[in-house]
């Protein structure tokens, strides 16, 4: 299981703040997890498609597409940050 969180506009567009999913076989990086979610189609494809500005954190650290993901991780998807 990985815990996935969504924030800000992504949370609104997807209609949820988070979920827990079983990592499918072969999904072991941020890029692969994102592609897996895009494959759901609909709002998921629209919000997370390649080219959309989406930032990802794995276990509270900013991550890259190549950052590895393993069961037990917390993975957050969110728009570019706008604090300050």
């Amino acid at each position: 299981m990985v815990r996935i969180l969504y924030f800000a506009k992504l949370r609104e567009d997807l209609g949820k703040g988070g979920e827990e999913i079983e990592l499918p076989a072969g999904v072991a990086t941020v890029a692969a997890l994102r592609a897996h979610l895009v494959a759901r189609g609909g709002a998921w494809a629209a919000a997370l498609a390649q080219g959309k500005s989406v930032r990802v954190a794995v276990n509270h650290d900013m991550a890259e597409p190549t950052t590895p993901i393993k069961p037990g991780d917390e993975v957050a998807f969110f728009p570019p940050v706008t604090g300050g």
């Binding site: 969180l5 924030f7 800000a8 506009k9 500005s53 930032r55 954190a57 509270h60 650290d61 900013m62 917390e74 957050a76 969110f78 728009p79 570019p80 940050v81 706008t82 604090g83 300050g84």
Partner: protein, 157 residues
Amino acid sequence: MPTIRVQTEDFDAGAETARLRAGDPKVGAVASFVGVCRDVNEGDAVTTMTLEHYPGMTEKALAKIVDEAMARWRVVDVTVIHRVGELRPADQIVLVAVAGAHRGEAFAACEFIMDYLKTRAPFWKKEQTPQGARWVDARAGDDEAAARWGADEKNAA
């Protein structure tokens, strides 16, 4: 020992800055910054603003930014306070205060922390305007500001 707080309540910038330097007579310079909620953004009136964050990650991200600043410059102590929740125009949003022996390093560390906070700390602003609510877009200018310090990741792009 840096102070890092994420809170809904307002803060007293003068008291925080005084506390930051109290007790260390080696401090000769305190550089500080207060970010304030403006009543207009991109030409539209802003009536209220809601700041969302990522509890759990936020403090950790801020601590990492402060640690990096304290590794780059010789400073004595740092305070970062960032508010979340609903704010109105003229409300304070963020305080970054840096105490050090000399002003050049205090200024640099303070501006570095603000630039990194704007591009790496998980906060998101939603504005209420007469035209409705909207999420604030990240600014390329903030990436450029962070890039001056050697940051290569982009936030806004």
